[in-house]
Amino acid sequence: MADSAVHNAHAHPPGFAHQFETMDQQRESATMGMWVFLVTEILFFGGLFGSYIVYRALYHDSFEIGSNLLNIKFGAVNTIVLIGSSLTMALAIHAAQAGKKAREQMMWLLLTILLGAIFLALKFTFEWTADYHEHLIPGFGFVVRPEWGAAGPHVPIFFCFYFFMTGLHATHMIVGIPILFVMTWMASRNKFNADYNAPLENTGLYWHFVDIVWIFLFPLLYLVGGRWGTH
């Protein structure tokens, strides 16, 4: 701002914005803003979760068949990968808060990016590609198999939700990774320290939120089918 020199009463620490009175106020505002944003995200995914629940109630058997067609191994491995990336994210923030060197912050951030990329690679190159070859993508040559019997006609609805929900989740990760790169760059410029790390902290909140969405998607999509019958 042109006039930010006005409040020259206080010395300006790096990253301090003119509209705030104190650094604490700025920090609390940033955290609260991020949480409020995450609440909108809860409701955003919530619309999908709500619809999923309604259709699962209506077409219980079809959803079990659909769920059993998913590859539980990829689901479980991805869960572990994503929780791992949450850990590395938390450690990156810890490094900044504890005043550790930029190199350590960057290492954890890059690890987070790597784990995120592994998750997406598994999702897209293995799972979705396999689904395509098995004609399980609604709108792209979905084939209802006769062995599904009575529940067959509504199996596509399960897959609609599978692709909407995992797709939206993946979109959030694809948005998150560039932000993580920016954070890495900022860390490399020694921007973050024990006093100022709000952008890093907020990125972390976002990343953990994406993790939580997956924590629910995994059981709802992969695990509710009653796997005991398939083995």
């Binding site: 701002m1 042109a2 006039d3 505002s29 609260m32 803003g33 944003f37 609440v39 999908l48």
Partner: protein, 551 residues
Amino acid sequence: MSTATLDIHAHDAPLPSGERKNYLNVDHSVKSWLLTYDHKRIAILYLISITLMFFVGGLFAVLMRVHLIEPQGFLVAPENYNKLFTMHGVIMVFSFLVPSIPATLGNFLVPMMIGARDLAFPKLNLMSWYIYVIGAAFTLYSVISGGVDTGWTFYTPYSSSFAHTQVVPTAIGVFITGFSSILTGLNFIVTIHKMRAPGLNWFRLPLFIWAMYATSVIFILGTPVIAVTMFLLGLERLLHIGIFDPAIGGDPILFQHLFWFYSHPAVYIMILPGMGVMSELITAFSRKRIFGYTFVAFSSLAIAVISFLVWGHHMFVTGQSVYAGLIFSVLSFLVAIPSAIKVFNWTATLYKGSISYEAPMLYALGFIGLFTMGGLTGLFLASLATDVHLNGTYFIVAHFHYIMVGGAVMAYLGGLHFWWPKITGRLYPDAWARFAALVIFVGFNLTFFPQFVLGYLGMPRRYAVYPLEFQTLNVMSSAGASILGIGYLIPLIYLIWSFKYGPSAGPNPWGAKGLEWTTPSPPPTENFPTIPVVTEQAYDYAQTTGMVEHG
């Protein structure tokens, strides 16, 4: 009142022309406007864009009313009439009413009323305007490229499988515009929590701030659901996968649930800010503290919360379960009560006041009357037995226009007239303004009162042609609409005129209370040279020591 001191700092040195530096004249370049982080300038950007959208939406309304003069339709083919009412609804709801008061007056006033230099996140604020513009551009694109004819409610399966019009661009427009609301709401919530001036606790806040807070809560909680609904609608339409199509097992009623989960609270997004403006106007022009501050304040929050529990009253005749219908009906009655509390308290505020009748007060009094009528006719629609007859008729149209136009737009105009001297530093001709208020009040009632009767007689809404016996009332309504249209043009003219030629307003032309009136008009970029300390309650007119004299 605050003990803000208005001493001129060195940086407030006058411009070469001798003018005092303020947020308007600090830089005249286009770039300084398009890249501004100043909440006041962003408010002006919003003001210009929503005014544009208002007149586009209004034009469609005028064309509809002209068309309906003749039972067989006067102007356009049915498919074009369907596009007119759809575009009127989409533009007025999503591009005008939802952002109207929050994004213009709210943006301008929230920091000023709480004694802050800006909102908590100025960059997000600018981003929200750009997102709004992109969303509005999609909506306008869908108008230009052939229009959309689904009704603003986008009911499936018509919108997803049968309509041959620009449903997807419109849905994208609504989706995008939603995010601008989310950012505005987020910004307000954090700002109101974290950036209040010292001494300004929650119960000293102006009620406009309470209303903005309640509105923001709805923005935050409701808007994501409409976004995801539009997302599902768009995918369904593009890929035909059967989420809402009964032919493949989908449930079209589920769409209505998701749609109204946002769109009913959205009605309160439109009216709550108006209620906030009312509390400011009534107190300022009767020089009284608001009667029952806590009741008015908490009724805003009550409305915000209960508004999420009543959406099913739009679906009483859709085949929704009878039991869900009963629950939604009783909750709908519940939401009427905080609104009633507000109306009674505003009326009681006038008691033993010192009432003057400048234009903003005329709008305020008009609001109370029309909102009372709009609210009470809502009871007809919350009542299951009468709703069966009135749902889907012109009664609905009349009811929500009483709330939206008689309520929200009246409040918006009242607020705009009230704070115009603060925003521009200029006075408008009050006689013209009073005249316009009167014309709008008369035109409004003539337009929409006949529609109550039409609805009770059984005329369905969204009819391009109608049986002969409804003509008299339709002609009355169209006549009223022409008066209303003129009524809206008058302020447009004199407000623009006053911006250039109006006499200087001074910091506080109404002698009103509130931190925003303690700064010069137009305010300097940083709002307050020093952050004020607040020691008194809101609207404390009776304490003479609280009066701040301005030179």
